[in-house]
């Protein structure tokens, strides 16, 4: 269960204060898949970044299983990102020069795992993301869709409860978007809580979506 209470985020510019999020209240049940719709600059990515604990809000709480992750120090926030949340970034942020396998090592080498366990986790994540066949290939040689699946594999490598996807189909064509949706269904079937921010209409009228939320100018509408 994720419980967001009175969440606000402001950015201070040289001349002005920009309110990215204004008093957001939201409840997301465990295993739910929710889609947050909104235009560019509406505050979607900011909201996801705060839920993923890579950004601190100006005020408010984000309670995950009863713990307010907003109050976490860097050590606890890192632990939270490492074990409990996977983040699918908007752009294809990967170690471009490394192979897909080596990209997936990054979240694993800080865990107390044996080499065999690491390889097992990598194989499992690649299988779920349906990209096992590109395991030894450098990611800069992968297509856009394959890179997106690589990022999904990285996001779920530590078997997190929550998977956050920020504009996941923004750089995908229609076919790859449909493949991605199949992956999301699979994640939901595995009991993951999935939060997606998008302005792609492809998520509309999808049966597996539990809740659709609209955000505009930093407020839920």
């Amino acid at each position: 269960m994720i419980n967001i209470e009175n969440l606000s985020k402001s950015f201070q510019t040289k001349t002005d204060t920009f309110h990215a999020l204004k008093n957001i209240n939201l409840k997301i049940k465990k295993g739910e898949l929710i889609v947050i719709y909104g235009e560019s600059g509406s505050g979607k990515s900011t909201l996801l970044s705060i839920i993923a604990s890579i950004m601190k809000p100006t005020s408010g709480k984000v309670l995950v299983e009863g713990e307010n992750i907003v109050s976490y120090s860097d050590i606890y926030a890192s632990e939270y990102r490492k074990n409990r949340v996977g983040f699918v970034t908007q752009s294809f942020h990967l170690f471009d020069e490394l192979t897909l396998h080596d990209n997936l090592l990054a979240p694993l080498v800080i865990q107390a795992l044996t080499k065999a366990q690491i390889e097992h986790n990598i194989d499992k994540a690649l299988l779920i993301a349906n990209i096992s066949h590109k395991k030894s290939q450098k990611v800069n040689t992968l297509s856009g869709g394959e890179k997106q699946r690589a990022i999904i594999a990285r996001a779920i490598i530590n078997n997190p409860h929550i998977v956050i996807c920020d504009e996941p189909t923004a750089n995908l064509d229609a076919d790859n978007s449909l493949v991605f949706i199949e992956t999301l269904k699979d994640l939901k079937a595995r009991g993951k809580t999935v939060i997606i921010s998008t302005h792609d209409p492809i998520f509309e009228a999808q049966e597996f979506v539990d809740k659709v939320i609209f955000i505009k100018d930093g407020s839920l509408v």
């Binding site: 050590i75 990102r81 970034t89 752009s91 942020h93 690491i118």
Partner: protein
């Protein structure tokens, strides 16, 4: 730990081009700085090993800014001073070698005087005295030999003393290379031959040397010598050592200039590294943070990555400098430090450096390098990963 090390090696190999350029540049700078220190250390060692057996005091007759021959009577006079031992007159002077337009230093030694031989032990060690004195012989420095060979004086050389006679002196042997720094342009011969060739009248010497074994008495002896004659110049062994020490110490003159140049070059590289963190580095940090790495884990990882590179450069630089100075005999740099003046030096550097030299290089390069890398990376790592990747 092993998993992290494995990942570290993967990144090092993957980004080898970037690391290689830093490695090469750092190796060259460390090698240059180490070479300077090695040369300085080697020169000092050679000088002090040669000067070690020198007399404690050298006394010259000095009138109106010119050095004149000292009277033999001073020897008996100096013996009357308490604490003074082994007072001797020396014969030496310069010889102008016209074919190469060079000056050689002729030193006359009394080979029957055991004290003299002890003092010059470093230079004349291993010479068979009886054989040497059987005819008019001389032992020559490396540079002298080089110039004599150039004009085919392989066996002997003919001097023209001031009395216009002809003195044919045979080349008996070459002085040891390790003493080249002070003896490269030196010719050692029997005192009688030297007196004749240099035109030093009987009853006088070029200068007079004496020993004062008790350190505590030296200042008093110095004062007594100074007041005994107004036309006298006194040079102590310490003065000579200090002179050479200052001349070749890395803190002085050319050494300091080179050090400053090396440090400024290094400083510029560091400044560039400090002020411009590459987008690849920033993205790498952001991705690691996003994957759950703590700030200290990211920093230790980056320190390790760069430490491997700079430490490899450090050892390579030291090795390169050692090879350059002690095996190749420091071409180019040698001429900067020893100069082209008088004779082109044939000095061969003998291995000599201290642990503090190596620590100095380590602290001067490795620590600032790591700081210049880590501070901007730390700045990136405390930012929100999405902000860095945006």
């Amino acid at each position: 730990m092993l998993n992290k090390l494995n990942f570290l090696l993967i990144l090092l190999i993957t980004y080898r081009k970037k690391h290689l350029s830093i490695f090469i540049l750092s190796t060259l700078l460390i090698a240059l700085m180490s070479s300077v220190l090695f040369i300085s250390s080697s020169i000092k060692k050679d000088i002090f090993s040669t000067l070690e057996n020198q007399a404690d005091f050298t006394v010259q007759k000095y009138v109106a800014g010119r050095v004149l021959n000292a009277p033999e009577s001073w020897i008996d006079e100096f013996y009357t001073i308490d604490g003074v031992q082994n007072v001797q007159g020396r014969i030496y002077g310069t010889h102008y070698y016209e074919p190469a337009e060079q000056y050689f230093i002729i030193v006359g030694l009394d080979f029957y005087d055991t004290q003299v031989i002890k003092e010059m032990k470093t230079l004349v060690e291993g010479i068979d005295m009886d054989d040497f004195l059987a005819k008019k012989n001389m032992i020559i420095g490396s540079d002298v030999k080089k110039f004599l060979d150039e004009y085919h004086y392989f066996d002997y050389y003919t001097f023209r003393p001031p009395d216009r006679s002809i003195e044919k002196v045979y080349i008996y042997d070459k002085l040891k290379s390790s003493t080249d720094i002070v003896s490269g342009d030196m010719i050692i011969m029997d005192i009688a031959n030297a007196r004749k060739i240099l035109g030093v009248e009987d009853g006088t010497f070029s200068d007079i040397i004496l020993q004062a074994p008790n350190l505590k008495e030296r200042e008093t002896i110095n004062t007594k010598l100074r007041v005994s004659h107004f036309d006298m110049r006194i040079i102590q062994k310490n003065d000579i050592q200090n002179y050479y020490e200052n001349l070749y110490n890395y803190k002085g003159g050319l050494f300091l200039s080179l050090f400053i140049i090396v440090f400024m070059s290094f400083g510029l590289i560091l400044f560039q590294r400090y002020s411009m963190i590459s987008s690849v580095d920033a993205k790498e940090v952001a991705l690691l943070r996003l994957s759950g790495w703590k700030i200290n884990e990211v920093l230790w990882f980056k320190i390790s990555e760069n430490f491997i590179v700079i430490l490899s450069a450090y050892f390579s630089g030291i090795f390169l400098a050692y090879f350059y100075v002690y095996f190749l005999n420091a071409p180019l740099l040698k001429n900067i430090f020893l100069g082209y003046s008088n004779l082109g030096s044939s000095t061969i550097f003998s291995p000599s450096f201290t642990l503090s030299d190596l620590v100095l290089i380590f602290l001067s390069f490795v620590i600032p390098f790591l700081l210049a890398i880590i501070i901007p990376l730390w700045r990136v790592s405390i930012k929100e990963p999405t902000e860095v990747m945006r």
